[in-house]
């Protein structure tokens, strides 16, 4: 069999790419190793009728262009807008609740600190303005500062936008980008709970504490696409990320993409420096003019294509990518929704347990020294509150990310392995949650714990890192996946990358799929 393009993996980015390519009339095959389309994004059943997204915490920030272009609403995609977006139970004082309505958020902060409430709006607006800039960057191939000048032309508009911020915000942007979230938050606010909650969001995707430079950027990064001040919220899809995948798959099929599951890729065959063949585990060989892989840069190039055609410094760079999942995901099937002390309404969005910046920092300290956090930072969601379809008859599902778990960045995860260690951490997480939601413990019907080691073995995520490369300053933009190769192409002709390991990263956006497809298209058309 021969195709114009074979796409490896069937996650959202890969499906977007496949649909874009097929839409231009090229023959496209998507191969998925697992039994269901979606790969790490496919939903799973915890108990019959209880559906969870095993790896992805949210549906990220779907590029509106992709939504429109692929007419996903016609393929069954429904977006939800849970409110409140963020809830932070408090041991003392009232809980902190972020709403889509900024005034309500402010009122919640006001209960804890009048000074912070006074500063909230300008902070939120400024952060949003910065996030808009990042949004622009995320929608384009990463700028290459030393690349050809004509490639920088599209960024002149961005430069104007940066200047458009005005002197104060512009210089503040330069200051904030490399700033530790600790300093940014400590400069602005006094309430430990507020600082802790935002600090917890600033280490998502990083194996660092909030005192590390670059954490302010991560905080901003996760704000892209959210309404003003709605930290911690992202696109929510009815049916979960799994439903998003189904809609994307339907859109792709509608454009003539062939999807094949249980097709584990064994090898990418390279001849004279060009990828020509995809070999499956069953021995079958599929030939292709182009291969686009969403399976992660290191895995694609080192394991599947092999280092033969790669320069040693490129291989070295691939091996230096830091994969540091650093957290455990705990999925719970619940007989009833947990009721958090002090929260009048169900916490439909994200629940964060991180009472102070130091709490987050100490949780990281443990992992830094090779231990799972004694008191982990918890980020939980109960998606069934906004989307009852996820659990049967008034019951619920809950997913909790517990930070941190020690990982060794390069050669995969070490530290915690096996169920005993996972159970211990999960017990600690549940105990912490139960401190503010006493009914939780009794409501648990089933529990599943995924450690970084599990994410690696089960889902092929190096280092258990769903972001496929730490969201550190030196691994973003033109440095992602490796310096100088941010344009989705690789040193091997006809072999392309997309997915979280490539720009823009950090969330499901469809952007890497769309941008990678453009690179493939440009080359295919160049050959035609």
């Amino acid at each position: 069999m021969s195709y114009d393009v074979i796409v490896l993996g069937s996650g959202p980015e890969e499906l977007v790419a496949a649909a874009c390519l097929a839409g231009e009339g090229w023959s496209v095959l998507v191969v998925e190793a697992g039994p269901a389309i979606g790969g790490t994004a496919a939903s799973e059943e915890l108990l019959p009728g209880f559906r969870v997204d095993p790896v992805h915490g949210d549906a990220g920030f779907l590029d509106p262009r992709v939504l429109r272009q692929l007419e996903l609403d016609r393929h069954g995609l429904a977006l939800l807008a849970p409110d409140p977006v963020l809830a932070v139970p408090a041991e003392r004082g009232g809980p902190l609740v972020f709403w889509r309505d900024a005034a309500r958020t402010r009122a919640s902060i006001e209960d804890r600190s009048a000074r912070d409430a006074g500063r909230w709006e300008s902070f939120a607006e400024r952060m949003e303005a910065f996030a808009r800039i990042l949004e622009e960057v995320a929608a384009r191939p990463a700028p290459r500062p030393a690349g050809p000048l004509r490639d920088l032309a599209p960024f002149l508009g961005l430069g104007r936008k940066v200047r458009g911020l005005g002197r104060d915000d512009m210089t503040e942007l330069f200051r904030v980008l490399p700033l530790p979230a600790y300093d940014l938050l400590d400069d602005t606010f006094e309430d430990e709970l507020l600082k802790g909650a935002l600090g917890a969001l600033s280490v998502r995707g990083l194996f660092q504490g909030p005192r590390a430079q670059g954490t302010a950027l991560v905080l901003l990064h996760h704000l892209v696409g959210s309404p003003t001040g709605c930290f911690g919220t992202r696109t929510v899809v009815r049916g979960g990320v799994g439903a998003l995948v189904e809609a994307l798959a339907a859109a792709a099929r509608g454009r003539g993409v062939e999807l094949r599951v249980d097709a584990d890729v064994e090898r990418i065959g390279v001849e004279r420096g060009r990828a020509t063949v995809v070999e499956l585990a069953d021995g079958s060989q599929l030939s292709a003019r182009s291969v686009l892989s969403g399976m992660g840069p290191a895995r694609t190039l080192l394991d599947l294509a092999g280092p033969t055609w790669l320069d040693p410094d490129f291989v070295h760079a691939l091996r230096q990518i830091r994969f540091r999942g650093g957290y455990a995901r705990i999925h719970l099937a619940l007989s009833e929704a947990p009721r958090f002390d002090g929260l009048a309404e169900p916490a439909a969005g994200t629940i964060v347990l991180a009472p102070s910046l130091d709490h987050v920092e100490r949780a990281f300290d443990d992992a830094k020294h090779g231990e799972a956090s004694e008191r982990p930072v918890l980020e939980a969601r109960i998606p069934s509150l906004a989307d009852p379809s996820l659990a049967p008859g008034g019951r619920h599902v809950m997913s909790v990310d517990a930070r941190f778990v020690p990982v060794d960045g390069r050669e995969g995860s070490t530290g915690l392995r096996g169920s005993a260690a996972g159970d211990e951490l999960a017990d600690r997480a549940v105990a912490l949650l139960a401190e503010s939601a006493p009914n939780l413990r009794g409501a648990i019907l089933a529990r599943k714990v995924l450690l970084p080691a599990d994410m690696e073995t089960r889902y092929g995520l190096y280092g258990g890192d769903p972001y496929q490369g730490e969201l550190a300053l030196d691994q973003l933009l033109f440095m992602r996946p490796v310096p100088g190769w941010s344009g989705y192409r690789t040193p091997i002709g006809g072999l392309y990358l997309c997915g979280n390991g490539t720009h823009p990263a950090g969330a499901i956006t469809g952007a890497s799929g769309r941008l990678a497809a453009s690179a493939v298209l440009a080359d295919l058309e160049g050959q035609a």
């Binding site: 280092p307 033969t308 055609w309 040693p312 410094d313 091996r319």
Partner: protein, 399 residues
């Protein structure tokens, strides 16, 4: 202090006793004799007339084995290792991804999956970086293996006198295992003199015995312990380049123009066509197709011109006693077209020789150029002719 500032080779107890004038030279963290006598003339004469025995232990040496050993070397060096036979030695450069030379040395295929790589600079890390995903073991035997170079017309007789087998049939750039006395050794018919010669590799603890054995066996043949100065003269006559002198390793270069490709160093013949992918291959194929901007050739300085320059100031030509390593500009029609990097007076050929980098346009053998010489504190230019190397190439080298 826990450690001495410099290393000495396992031959040091022997060589130190013979060096008469404190004439030592630093080489890769070792000290070795630059010459044994204050003047190296007789040592040079031994290389060309009888035989010289040179301590070359400081070379970096790697033992590479395992199923992927050949594949690793093929990935690193420019020559085709896959097609080499057991017992064959390849001289080869290796390059960075841009096709610029990192180092040069020899690859000896000792067994199907066992090789020894020698080099002038350390390459352990580079080998490891290229071995990702390969089934191969890389052992650094630099500090465990001693090496002597036995060079000169009498080398074969001396070696046969101590070897347990007849090495007469050992061809140029071939290797053999042999017992010398009772010392197990690897013998390669290689050297850095352009003469009949062998290099002998043994474990450190057999080094002194090997030295004693060869010195005793060589005595009737006029064998002389020989230092680096004499070898330097011989290697220039043979047109053999020297890293850090005639070229800058791409690894140590600070700017692009300091780097050279194999083509630019006269090593185009080592860049195999149609071999497995190797580091720098793409860039080198491009250069092969497009042509190189530079070439490295010999220069023979015109004696009459030199004599005349000195005569102008009332002197006979002043010849350098030792080979030189300073950069000397080379001109054509008043414009600089290159630079010589090393040279010497050849006592045998009676010629002043140099190795020079030349712009390709002016590199054809026979081209008349001028080379800068300093005559009585004044910079002058002497006529010279571009010449093919080796300047001296005796039949016995290969025969």
């Amino acid at each position: 202090m826990a450690t001495a500032a410099v290393r000495t080779t396992p031959f040091h107890s022997r060589t130190a006793a013979l060096v008469r004038g404190h004439t030592w030279r630093h080489w890769a963290g070792y000290v070795v004799p630059a010459s044994y006598d204050l003047i190296h003339d007789l040592e040079y004469a031994a290389i060309r007339g009888t035989a010289g025995l040179i301590d070359v232990t400081p070379l970096y040496k790697y033992r590479i084995h395992g199923r992927g050993a050949g594949a690793l070397l093929d990935r690193v060096v420019t020559r085709d290792v896959a097609r080499s036979k057991v017992g064959q030695v390849l001289y080869t450069p290796w390059c960075d991804p841009e096709g610029k030379v990192l180092d040069d040395g020899t690859v000896t295929r000792l067994e199907e999956d066992l090789f020894r790589l020698t080099s002038a600079h350390p390459n352990l890390r580079w080998l490891h970086q290229n071995a990702v995903g390969m089934d191969v073991v890389i052992e650094d035997e630099t500090y465990d293996t001693a090496a002597l170079s036995l060079q000169g017309p009498a080398a074969r007789q001396i070696l046969n006198a101590v070897a347990d087998r007849d090495l007469t049939k050992l061809k140029f750039f071939r290797a053999a295992e042999a017992s010398l006395g009772a010392i197990p050794a690897t013998v390669t018919r290689t050297g850095y003199t352009g003469d009949l010669g062998y290099e002998i590799w043994v474990a450190n603890d057999r080094a002194e015995a090997l030295w004693d054995l060869l010195i005793a066996a060589g005595e009737p043949h006029g064998l002389l312990p020989t230092g680096l100065m004499a070898m330097d003269v011989a290697r220039i006559e043979a047109g053999l380049i020297l890293i850090d002198v005639d070229y800058v390793s791409a690894r140590r270069a600070l700017i692009e123009r300091q780097k050279s490709s194999p083509f630019e160093l006269g090593l185009g013949w080592t860049v195999a066509r149609d071999k497995a992918p190797f580091v720098g291959q793409r860039a080198l194929e491009r250069e092969r197709a497009a042509g190189s901007g530079w070439a490295l050739h010999g220069l023979v300085v015109d004696w009459d011109a030199l004599e005349e320059l000195y005569a102008d100031v009332g002197l006979p030509p002043q010849l350098p006693a030792a080979p030189w390593r300073a950069s000397a500009p080379v001109y054509v029609g008043g414009r600089q077209v290159g630079y010589a990097t090393s040279g010497c007076w050849s006592p045998l050929l009676k010629k002043s020789l140099a190795l020079a980098h030349l712009e390709a346009l002016h590199a054809a053998p026979g081209t008349q150029v001028e080379i800068e010489v300093t005559v009585e504190h004044r910079r002058r230019r002497a006529l010279a002719t571009v010449a093919k190397t080796p300047f001296f190439d005796p039949e016995r080298k290969r025969g």
